[in-house]
């Protein structure tokens, strides 16, 4: 029989134990954050190498990266996740079956991280590329002139002096990552947005749960903002003039 939510008070609705939805919302948030953190992290790595590749002289590489960033940023995330989670294994499995092998399954969590990393990587490529381009050219030339190896120029000169330029853009991306996790509902993961939708739909208390989810998102982004501010402060030394 169905639970009667109409007679429950606000605190009962938001209680941690079922039938209250508070716990469900929080575990949804935890799932969202896990996927967002992993996706964001791998996205940054892709972005860093993507940016370097894009600034390189290799035409094939820059062309491929151009396609990657344009396409992945343009394609709606839902399409990507449907393709990676449903269509891709289908194609692989068809091949495997025809050779008499067993099929493979892509785990929903894994697919989620993959999609977020893939998408974030494309955005991060652009952000980092622009930030590298903003470093005074002379400073990189000086590094070359002193025979600092390329990878060291990267992490000793370019990354430290690029980070202050890149951080605002990267903090935007992090916020996008946390919200993009909402897509993972499609693969059956109950992340925050879906949990809120379910609570709202089941209890018919739309506003309560939308605001609750909104508050949780806001909390996350306020906390991340504090973190990013701290990072910006720490990395900005020497970049601006004196006082």
């Amino acid at each position: 029989m169905l639970i009667d939510y109409q007679s429950m008070s606000l605190w009962e609705l938001l209680a941690f134990n079922s039938p209250g939805w508070g716990g469900a919302l929080l575990s949804g948030l935890a799932l969202s954050l896990q996927i967002a953190v992993l996706g964001y992290f791998f996205g940054l790595i892709i972005g860093l190498f993507g940016a370097i590749g894009k600034l390189s002289q290799n035409l094939l590489l820059t062309d491929l990266l151009y396609c990657y960033t344009t396409a992945v940023r343009a394609i709606p995330e839902l399409v990507l996740i449907l393709l990676i989670y449903f269509a891709l294994p289908n194609v692989i499995n068809d091949v495997l079956y025809s050779f008499g092998f067993d099929g493979v399954e892509i785990n929903g969590f894994f697919a989620g991280v993959l999609v977020i990393a893939f998408v974030q990587g494309a955005y991060a490529t652009e952000v980092i590329r622009a930030s590298i381009a903003a470093i005074p050219k002379g400073q990189i030339e000086a590094a070359h002139a002193f025979a600092i190896p390329k990878y060291k120029i990267l992490y000793r000169i370019m990354i430290p002096s690029m980070i202050p330029h890149a951080l605002p853009g990267l903090s935007n991306l992090w916020l996008i990552a946390t919200k993009d996790t909402a897509l993972l509902a499609v693969v059956g993961l109950t992340e925050l947005t879906l949990a809120a939708k379910q609570a709202a739909g089941a209890s018919k208390q739309q506003l309560t749960f939308l605001l609750a989810a909104g508050a949780l998102y806001l909390l996350v982004s306020l906390l991340s903002e504090v973190l990013f501010k701290y990072l910006i402060k720490r990395t900005e030394k020497g970049q601006t003039h004196g006082s």
């Binding site: 639970i3 209250g20 449903f86 289908n90 379910q198 609570a199």
Partner: protein, 234 residues
Amino acid sequence: ETLRIGIATEPYPPFSVPDASGQYTGWEIDITKAICAEAKLDCEIVATAWDGIIPALLSRKIDVAAASLSITEERKRVIDFSDKYYQTGAAVIGPKNKPFGSTPSELDDKIIGVQGASIHAKFVKKHYKNATIKEYQTQDEANQDLYSGRIDATQADALTLESFLASADGMKCCELKGMAINDEALLGAGIGFGLRKGNIELKEKLNDAIQAIRDNGQYDTISKSYFSFNIYGE
């Protein structure tokens, strides 16, 4: 071998409603379980967002979709359906202070809200030619706008509308204007289980089981605790 039954994660009371611990309850869940038992199938319920149900079915992640899918000719190009296991009529509701009925001529100059991509959307476009149509993603949103006065009427599944009319908002603003005319081609042949094409054996099993629980009274027993009327329709 277990049979994976896909249901939608989005709540659709009273057919399928999740609770905070991730358990699903509702009429459709109960009926599905009864049918599985009747057909001696070992069923496992798998919840997926609406967007993922058909892809999951086609990519073998689930075997049966039990998510209130309306049977239409167009959809039969892509998947197979079992026989219907319920069917509800379409109704029209509107504000209490505006007197009109549910015939096409009476709705001609009105703003009508419907759920987009539903059979009702098609129906409304076909029959209420001179009305202004607004499409919503969910019926709840259409109801909300009816309450706000942004639209004059909404047509949907009688059942859904009934529960809205019973709610506090619904009682305050609106009333039933009448049932929609019957258009089998559009309003469909009821709700059935979705199956991958060519899965004849499973389809037969499900059809037999539906018939069986209707015959042995289980169907009515379950339905009585949810509905005051005959949910199977005609």
